[in-house]
Symmetry: D2
Subunit: 231 residues, 4 copies
C-alpha cells in the first residue's frame, strides 16, 4: 500500500535572482556603469526612492523561488498576477501522496467574524487538534485510495484528481520583481490585514530571502512599512 506523507510546513527555496542594492541605485540614475555611485550614498538614495514610491527602480531585481505548499496556499499565492508561475501538472503526471495537516502551533478557532477572521488557540486545543488531525487523515486516506483505484482502472489523471483535497501538496516556481515581492509581503506577511496562517509562514520565508539578497532595500522597505526594519 502506498505510504502517505503528512506535512505541516511551507517550503520556499531560493532558485536564482538578478540585481542588487546597487542595481536599484543604478536604475534610478539610468547609469552607464562607469559613473559609480559611492557606497555610502546608496542607502540614502534607496530610502528616497522607496519613500517617494519610485517603485519602478525596484523592478530590475527579480527573484525566483521554488515552493512546496498545499493547493489552498498555492491558490492564494497565484492571485498575485504580476508573478510568473510554473506548477507541477495534475494532468500531465500523477500527484504525490503528500498532504497538509495543521501542527500544534496552528490556531484553530476563529474568535473574530467572517469578514475579520482572528484565529486563536482555545483552552481545549490539544483535543481539538487531535480531532482535526483525524478528520484530515480520514479524508486524505479515502481520497488517495479512490485516486489510486481510478488510475489503476485506466482513468486519466485529469479525471481521477477531481477527488483530491485542496490540502494536498503541490510544487511551483514563482518569479517576481522586488516591487511585486514587496506587494506580496504587504498582503501576506501577517503585518496587515488577516492573511491565512499558512501563507504567512511562506511569505516570511520569502522575506528572509529578500533580506539576504537586498539588505539595504529590504531594510528600508521594512522600516518604512512597520516591519521592524534595519536596526
Amino acid at each position: 500500500m502506498t505510504e502517505i506523507t503528512f506535512r505541516s510546513d511551507m517550503r520556499v527555496d531560493y532558485v536564482q535572482h538578478t540585481g542588487s542594492d546597487e542595481m536599484v541605485a543604478r536604475a534610478a540614475r539610468v547609469s552607464t556603469g562607469s559613473d559609480l555611485i559611492e557606497n555610502d550614498k546608496i542607502k540614502g538614495l534607496i530610502r528616497y526612492l522607496v519613500r517617494e514610491r519610485h517603485t519602478s527602480t525596484l523592478e530590475h531585481c527579480t527573484v525566483t523561488v521554488r515552493v512546496e505548499a498545499p493547493i489552498f496556499v498555492a491558490r492564494e499565492w497565484m492571485r498575485h498576477r504580476v508573478q510568473s508561475f510554473n506548477e507541477a501538472s495534475a494532468r500531465f503526471s500523477a500527484m504525490e501522496p503528500v498532504f497538509y495537516v495543521p501542527d500544534g502551533n496552528r490556531p484553530l478557532v476563529n474568535a473574530g467574524s467572517g469578514a475579520h477572521p482572528d484565529l486563536q488557540h482555545s483552552d481545549d486545543d490539544g483535543q481539538m487538534w487531535r480531532g482535526v488531525n483525524v478528520a484530515h487523515q480520514n479524508v486524505y486516506w479515502k481520497a488517495w485510495a479512490e485516486y489510486q483505484w481510478m488510475r489503476d482502472a485506466g482513468i486519466a489523471n485529469e479525471v481521477a484528481r477531481n477527488v483530491l483535497p485542496v490540502g494536498i501538496y503541490t510544487q511551483f516556481y514563482a518569479t517576481a520583481n522586488l516591487n511585486n515581492w514587496f506587494k506580496f509581503l504587504h498582503l501576506r506577511d501577517g503585518n496587515e490585514g488577516s492573511p491565512q496562517y499558512e501563507i504567512v509562514e511562506a511569505a516570511n520565508k520569502v522575506a528572509g530571502i529578500l533580506e539576504e539578497l537586498y539588505p539595504v532595500t529590504y531594510g528600508v522597505w521594512a522600516e518604512l512599512n512597520g516591519r521592524g526594519g534595519d536596526d
Copy 2:
C-alpha cells in the same frame, strides 16, 4: 443530514459589458464621436485591425461573467493574469455541498501521452463511468462529513476546508477585455493545444457571449483563427 448536489455542467452567465463593434473602430480612429464611421466600413477596418494584430483597439471592450465551476477549472482559469477576479471565499464563509461528477459525454481515458493528452471514450465506457462516479461520490461524502464535523466542533472555516476536494464547485466573477478574452479562447476553447474537457465547455460559453455582443469582431477573429468564422 445535509443533502449533497452533484453537477456536471459549467455555468457562465453574462453580467455586464462595455463597448461594441463600433467602439473597436472608433478606438482605432481615436474618434471624437462626431466623425461617424459608416457601418459598411466598420467590418473592413476591424478585419484589418485583427489581422495586423492592432490588438489595443480591442481592449476598450470589457465583459464581466459569473462562473460556477469546480475548483480545478477555476485554477486553470485564474492562470490568465490579465483578468480581474472575485471568488467566493472559503475563509470568510462556509462552502456549499455542490460537487462535480463527470457525465456520460466526458471521455475518461487518455489515449495520448502525458505531454499530449488525448482523451477518448472506451469500449467499456458505461462501466468505467459508474466506477468513476462511485469513487467521486465516496470521497465527496466523506470529505463533506468531516468538513461539517469540524465546523460543528468550532474549527474555523479556513482549517476545515483543507479536506474539500478540488471537484467542489466555486463561484467567481471574471472581467477581461476583448483582446484578453480572445487569448483565453486561443488556449481554452479546444481548437488548439489540449485543454481540459471541462474548461473547453466553459470557454465555449464565453465564446457564445462574445459572439452575441461583438458579432463583427468575433466573426472576424474566429474566421482568421480557424474557428469557423462568420459565414
Copy 3:
C-alpha cells in the same frame, strides 16, 4: 500658410463606462443578482472593501476617456501599464498643428531641488511668462515649417515628425478599471509626491468623472486617502 493653434488646457472627455457602486458590492458577494443588497448597506460594505484593500472588487468597473494633451503629458500617462491605450499615429497620418503653451496659472520656477521639484510663481512672473511664450512659439513655428516642408518634399510622415516638439498635442483613448484609476490618481492628482502641473489638471478631470459615475466608492476612497472625502 497653415495656422497654428496654441492651447494651454488638458481635455479629458468621458467615452463609456461599466459598473456602478452596486456592482462593487455585488462583486464582493459574487452575487447571483437575485440576492439584492440593500442600498443602505452598500456604503458600509464599500468602506470595508477599500479600507482593507480588497481592491479586486473595484476591477469590474471600467472607464474609457478620450484625452487631448501634449506628448510630454501622454508620455507620463502611458507609464501606467494597467491601462489600455489607442493613440493617434504620427506614422499612419499627419499631425495637427496644435501646440501647448503655459498660461498665466502655470508656475514657472522650481523653488525646490531636482529630486523634489516645488514649482512656484515668481515676482517677475508676467515677464517670464512672456519670454517663455515667445520661446515656445519660436520653436513651434520653426518645427512646423520644417515638418511641412519635408512632407511637401515627399518625405514620409514617420521621418518628418522627428522635428516636432513634445509640446505638440496628441489624442488618445485610455481605458482602465477603477482600482487602477485610483492608483493613477494617487500618483498624479497632486495630493502626493510632486507630479507635473499639466498632468495634475488632467488627473483631476478624471477624478471628476469617477466621482460622478461611482459617487459612493469615489467618496470613500477620497476620504480614506485624504482627498477631502464624501461630505
Copy 4:
C-alpha cells in the same frame, strides 16, 4: 556655445540577466535541482514548450538592457506594458543636446499607404537626404537655443523641455522576461507588420543579446517563427 551631437544609431547594451536554457527546462519540470536534465534532452523539451505555447516556462529568464534612442523610439518601446522601465527624467535634470538624424541607409519615402507604410529609397535619395538633414538640424539648433535660453532665465526644466523635439535622445533601462522579449521581437524586429525603421534596428540588437544568452531557446523560437532559426 553648446555643441550639439547628431547621431543616427540605436544603442542597446546588456546590463544583466538571469536564467539560461537549462532554467527553461527546469521550470517546465518544476525541478528540485537534483533531478538533472540531460543536456541532449533540453533542446527537444524546449522545442515542445515553445511550439505548444507553454510560454510560462520562459518567464523565469529576465534580461535588463540599457537603451539610448530618440524619444519617438522610446515611445513605441514603452507601449510594451510587460516590461519595467527607468528613464532619465527631463524634470529632475536637464537634457543632453544629442539629436537623431537619419543616415543614408534610412529609407525616406513611403511607397505604401498610411495603414501599410512601405518605406523605400528614392532615385533622388542623396538630395532628399541632404534636405532632411538640414531641416532636422535647423529645428534642433533652434529648439536647443530656446531650451538653453529658458533654463538660463530661471525657468524650470519641466517647462523648458516642452520645446524639445521627439528626435532628441533619451536613455532608459528596460527589463523583461524572455516570453515578453519574444513578443517585443514579434512586433518590432521587422519580420512581421511594418514597424518603424529605427526600432527595428534596436530590436535586432535585443535579438542578438537573447541569442547569446539563451542560444537553444532563441534558436527554436526563431526557427518556429520564420526568423532564420538555429542553423
